[in-house]
Structure formats: structure tokens, C-alpha cells
Symmetry: C2
Subunit: 367 residues, 2 copies
Amino acid sequence: MFSIAPSARLRPSPFYEATVKAGVTSFTVYNRTMLPTGFGDPEAEYWRLINGVSMWDVAAERQIELKGPDAARLAQILAPRNLTKQVEGQGKYAALCDHTGTLINDPIVLKIDDDCYWFSIADSNMLFWARAIASERGLDVSVEEADVSPLAVQGPKGEDVVASIFGDWVRELKYFWFKPSKIGDIPVMVARSGWSKQGGFEIYLMDKSRGSELWDIVAEAGKPWEIGPGNPNQCERIESGLLSYGGDTDDTTNPFELGLGKYVDVDVPDDVVGIEALRRIKAEGPKRQLLGVIMDTDEKLEFPNIWFDIQKDGIRIGDMVNCVFSRRLEKNIGYALVDMDSKPEDAVNVRKNGKDIPGALTALPFI
Amino acid sequence: MFSIAPSARLRPSPFYEATVKAGVTSFTVYNRTMLPTGFGDPEAEYWRLINGVSMWDVAAERQIELKGPDAARLAQILAPRNLTKQVEGQGKYAALCDHTGTLINDPIVLKIDDDCYWFSIADSNMLFWARAIASERGLDVSVEEADVSPLAVQGPKGEDVVASIFGDWVRELKYFWFKPSKIGDIPVMVARSGWSKQGGFEIYLMDKSRGSELWDIVAEAGKPWEIGPGNPNQCERIESGLLSYGGDTDDTTNPFELGLGKYVDVDVPDDVVGIEALRRIKAEGPKRQLLGVIMDTDEKLEFPNIWFDIQKDGIRIGDMVNCVFSRRLEKNIGYALVDMDSKPEDAVNVRKNGKDIPGALTALPFI
């Protein structure tokens, strides 16, 4: 392990001081922002998410705000998904693509009102991207990174914690829907969302000076449910089949390869970025597919998280794009971005430094 | 200090294994790539750069390659600097701006040939930016991140080391000029360049599978000059007045505020991105300027590297945007992004957590 320190270039999150007090031990960098990756007890952090409730500083999930008369138009131009029926308070997952149909981010698009949208982004610069498209097309819209920082409350007991703060109305929120609220005078949005399959909410802090206060309020409210700190969990998210843009994708990956075809509406207008390419890819069919691979070894594999070749009958069929030891399956599992001939249960080998590890493909999610 | 580990999302550099062998202890993340920030002895690493020769893994300085019939046209559209006289083998520093004239990156633009340019970029996503502009304008050019990874050799003895590898012709290279070459069969470009004012070269590795080999060759060649590992040095670069895009800039900083006006040619064609805004800013004059600030305290200040208010006569005049204890001046120094009324030698206060640290403005560079 190596050390990292915040710097002027790597932005601290509004919850940074609070996570330091909570004992954060490691970080990654996401959208040029420090994102906690551990609090010293990976075992407890995992099971807290699976069985209890965990709170996460995910301020690195930045919000790109489109505001002005052409906000709705720009949102639609950027997202190859039909947004015409989206209503205020509703979020929609979208697979943003470039002009060649390659995935460049997979945000939740939140409709704040008719003239304001937030793109709650994965790890790539959608601020510059959206500004480029808006300016080149002469749209009447401002594009800014908003002062909005999500704090996630994840796990099966998350709803009880969030309801204890905001009231029982949060129990009625549908997935990806959100509602403005306040905690005292701290302005927030409350969304049913989060990068796990264990259920939960994201509280979008709308005043970066109030990060420690919000953290402490949630930590205090969660005590009856033994809330504790955590972070987006690599093991749980792979078990659950969730995508990490930039981790599971390369410079040519399109949404159809990733099983995201259901989020691509090819009947959106012709001015949507990449739609022509996406129609063609859909018509021709993708060249690769995302499956799982379960490795047949008792050893807990210590993979550096880079891509490895997957072979079937001695022939390369694709890449293992991420790998983790599953705490629930007690097996080494990974994602397999492989050719279209491959099928679940196919016997394969993962080649690591010239050695073969036997395994089998499987459908996603693992659990 | 906190720990960080490579992941599939944070790309290792081709020199990663070599830097681990060389004892790297800390990293930052730059262009989604792991960038070494220390090898355990900051004092020695600093003086090696000032008095000797240091080798740096700066693969995180990615190369965005524009290739095709419209490559030159796209390079000019992206860069508000006259590139018409740029010749093959010449690099030019350019202040890339968005449509509002805000700085979004400050690469070296390398002209490889008439149909191929590399943008050797700072820490922001110019791949997506260049693709957006190229596609929206219907240009006939491919935009890719090339398989090119710089290894810097910096310090007054750097030229001797690089000449011992490639021959004395490197001594004739002008600043930012470069030439293709080979070490054995490893393809490289050799450029007189680097993010320090101590002189030196960047060897652009053009085959990512050869990183450890190249590192070892340079380390071996440098032995007579006692070469050792290092990295872009925050202390030296601030003493020398070098800019860190994203560290010293915010979301509204324009080149004129940073003293980069001499790199902006307002007579470039009207289709250059941001040129209309830059002409207006130049005509009106910038609202801020970048100066230095020297703090008057014997204590070595331990600043977290975030921005702090600078006040003059109790009134806020701008921000200290970075701060370091200068090993040569033996003083705490920082950059001051302040209003246009401010002058070198003005007495100011830097406000840190409600306390004032007295100091004075100064012209850049410090040394």
C-alpha cells in the first residue's frame, strides 16, 4: 500500500473532516475528488452493508447542473434515453455515449424542474463534455458543477435511519426518485438511490459548508441501528452485478455490450449525441457481452485490478475486467467481457502472468 | 497520511513496477493514472533535482493524438495560439480554453507531422473535449489517447545523462523541441521539456510493454551522475513559478489572470474555441493576477493544500492558491490569485482558520 494526501488539485469532500474523525484509512480519487475506500475493518464494513446500515461519503459523485431555457433539450441531446416523460422529482439512469456510441459515463439524470437537470455522474469529466456540446450547438443553458454532495445511507436498515431523520414519507419514494427537504436549516435532496443492491438512500447536501454537521446528524440518528462508516464496496457491487464506469469499461465499450441496451432508446431524436452509431450497433448486434466468471481455486486470489485474458479451449475470448474474493460465495469472482459465442457455464481459463486459473462463466448478477 | 492502491479504474503507468522496485512510497492520481509523489526522502529528492539529476515517472501526462487530414485544423481550433508556423519536431505550450475563455488545460502541443499532433496534457479530460469538438464540427480526424508515456530526466546533470544514452545531438535540441529515436528497439521521442526549471528532458516511451526496460536503462546510464528517483516537485515548481492546472486554477480562471497572455494569439481564426471571449477579456483586462506571497513566520506552515483568503487592510483581495515551505528561501511561500490593484511588496494577511499570518506579495518566480 502507498500513501496519498489531499492537495489543491485533489479536492477534499465536504465530509472529509468527518470521515477523518470516523477513522478513514484509505482513499481513491474519483472526479478529481478524494473518495474514502476504507475505515480499517473491511470485514465489518462489508457485513454492515449486507445486514445493517452503512454511511458513505460519496461527494465524489459530482452533480453537473444544466440550467436555463434549453436545459431539457441539452439533457436529451446528451442522453440516448427518452426523457420526455420524466417528471420533476424523478431520476433516470442513462448511458451517455460519445458520437461513436462508446460509453463515456453512466449518470442518474435528475429532473429538478423544467429548466434544471442534474447529472449525478460516474468518474469522467461530464462538465467539459456538456459544455462543449451546449456551446457548439449554441444552446441557451448554463452548465456548472453544482454545490451538491451526496452522503449515502446504504443497507437493509438504511430506510429506518433515513425515515427517523426525515419522516415516513421517505418510505414511499420510488427507486431513483427524490424530494427536496431540510435537516434543521441544512438544505438537502433525499433520493432513493445508491451504488449497492442492499437498498438505501442518498442525501444530497446542497451547502458544502455543512458537511460535518450532516455527517454527525446521520451518525447520531443511525445509532439505534448501529450505523457505521463505509464506502462503495467493490465486493458487494461485483456480487450484485453493478457497473463501474472506467473500471469495467475500456475506450471502445458500448452500452449494448454491458447489458445496458434496455436503457438506450433508439427512437430519440436524431440530434442526440451518438444515436446514429447506437442504432447501427443495435441493428448489427454487439461484438462482446458482460458475463461473470467464477474461478475454481481455494486460494484467495490477490489480483492487481487490471484486465486479464480469458481463454476457452486455448483461444482468447475476452477479458476479465475486475475480480474480487466474494465473502458470501467464498469464491473468486470477476466480470468477463467476452465474445458473443460465450455462454454461462462455459469452462474457461483466466491467464495470469502465464499461468492458467480454471473457472466457468456465469450469468450476472452473482447474487 | 492515508493509503491508496491501484485499481482497474486508476491506471498503472508502464513504469509502475519499476517505481515500486525503486521504493515509491506515495502517489497522487492525475488523468486517472497513478503518479508517484515520493520515494521516502523528500529532502534528498529535492536537492537531487536542484543540484544533480532525477528521473520521474510522468506517464500520467497523457498524449492525446489528433490524426488525419483535419489534425492540424483541429489542433488550431482547440488552441488559441497561432500554430501555422509550427514545424515537425516542434512543441508549443498552449493555454486551451472553453468557449467562455476559461482555462481547461495547458498542454505542450507537439507537431509529429502534418497529419498528426500530440497534446501532452495536464490533469483534465482532453480526450473527450477534443472528440466533442471534432465530432460536432464534422472534422475528418481521429482523436485517441496514444500509447505514449513520458519518463522525465530533470536537473542540471540531466543533459549529460540523456546525451550518454542518445548521443550529443540531444544537446542541440531547443526547448520543447523533440526528435524520434530508439534505445535498442524501444521506440521513443526525446524532448527537451519537463515540469521544472532545472533543465532536462522527457523521453516519451512509445510502447507501454517496455516501461521497466526503459526505466532500468536510464537508471543505469545515470549512475555516473548519481541519478535517483523523484517526481514533479511541488516545492521547486512553486519556487520556479510553474503553473499546476487544477491546483492553482479554479472554474473561472482565464490565461490572462495567470500571466499566460503571451501564449494567447487573439488574431487566430474566429473558429478557435473561446477566441471571442479571450479577445474581450484581453480588451477589458483581467480582473485578477497571479503573484507570489511570502509569509512572515519562522514556523514551517503545515497547510492543507486548499485555498485561503488573502486580505489587505482587512479587505479580501483574493486567494492563496498553493503554499509550500521553500527549501532554498527557507520561508513559507505561496501563489496569490489577487485583484489587479495589488502590487508586489504590498503587505497582506493570509487568513487560516480565523487567524492571520502576515506576509507580503512578490513578483513571480520566487527564484
